[in-house]
Symmetry: C2
Subunit: 221 residues, 2 copies
């Protein structure tokens, strides 16, 4: 078994005015990584935060694995500052990008791992030729832009197709994933699980994270 | 005397991962308002934060006066969410806006005061026909986008022209303003003073804020 089950909380629905403490709490409760939702108001109709905040967070949290989910029109623009901010995995959407190979190369040259993301309306075939370049593929299970949306189960064939063709690829799902929807994600083959509301708002974060990880593990071969 | 001396720290160079605490500290040390720098990566080459963070901050800090400095390409887009987030004064740049009157009206209808901002390269004459619509005019004393830049004293004629023509207008300056540059701002007629690094990084924030306010007061008629 080469791929692992990982649960990455998104802090989008946490108290963003108290980001370091909220993030540390999630890590203390067993989060495997932090999924940081960067939105620019152009690629998606929401404006969250950028590298200055990620850098401040890194100054407080030295060791955790940071993924930035770049829901931005021009992902090339933020590679250098996000690398400087200590990001580990730079996941960007292929939809607005003309030269995916170039952006991928720049991310690697900046010392980060590469994630490729697709929106619900994007076919998995559109990402096929780039999969070999990526460390991870993110299949969005809601329209990106806001937290708290309902999970789209009809995205699971994309995950299945990726898992069937790339048994060792890290496949991430993001959007409406929680205890009620984790089973079909895990069964389809996702092994990196982003969870926002369901984890951040849980009375017992540790329990929810642990339960979700166990479901994913149960499907890993 | 109808206009007052106000010092509004910018938290751009504070610990953004701990925003509520940093902001409360500034208010406890005598800040008259908070100047919140919203940047979208399009109008300026930096991406800071948007309404989700401002709303979280408002949830923690109920009473303070919040100004959002909208360094964004489409200020109309964020009027409703910033009003919902509890913003008091919505200051936007006229440079990218086609219909300044319309945006101004929408801000007022959303229950916020209106600030009009101009970059260093924009003539004060370009804002003349809109001044009567505004509660405040912001004259940038650095290129907007980043904190820590050097103050541009050659912007002071804009402030003087505004003060001479509008004795009761709130005139704000932002960029490189601190104990060393406050005198020429106050002498020119600015009465709302944004200060980032000089206040946030001060060993004694209360002293710096108080000293700067006293300089401004000394020039108010």
């Amino acid at each position: 078994m080469s791929i692992q089950a990982k649960i990455g909380p998104s802090i989008l629905n946490a108290d963003l005015a108290n980001l370091a403490e909220e993030s540390q709490k999630l890590l203390d409760n067993g989060a495997d990584y932090l999924h940081l939702d960067v939105m620019d108001g152009t690629f998606v109709p929401n404006l969250t935060f950028g590298h200055p905040m990620v850098k401040c967070l890194r100054n407080k949290i030295k060791e955790a694995f940071f993924e930035t989910h770049m829901m931005v029109q021009n992902p090339e623009q933020w590679i250098a500052p996000m690398s400087d901010a200590g990001v580990n995995l730079y996941t960007f959407h292929i939809e607005p990008v003309e030269d995916v190979c170039k952006v991928t190369r720049l991310i690697q040259e900046a010392g980060m791992k590469v994630g490729l993301a697709i929106k619900p309306g994007t076919s998995v075939k559109d990402i096929e030729k780039y999969v070999e370049l990526a460390d991870l593929v993110l299949v969005m299970t809601v329209e990106p832009g806001f937290g708290g949306q309902s999970f789209m189960a009809d995205m699971m064939p994309k995950v299945e197709w990726l898992r069937n063709n790339y048994p060792n690829l890290d496949i991430e799902v993001d959007g409406g994933v929680g205890p009620k929807t984790i089973d079909c994600c895990a069964k389809a083959g996702a092994n990196w699980i982003v969870s926002g509301t369901a984890v951040v708002g849980a009375a017992d974060q540790r329990q929810v994270i642990g339960d979700m990880r166990n479901v994913v593990k149960s499907y890993l071969k």
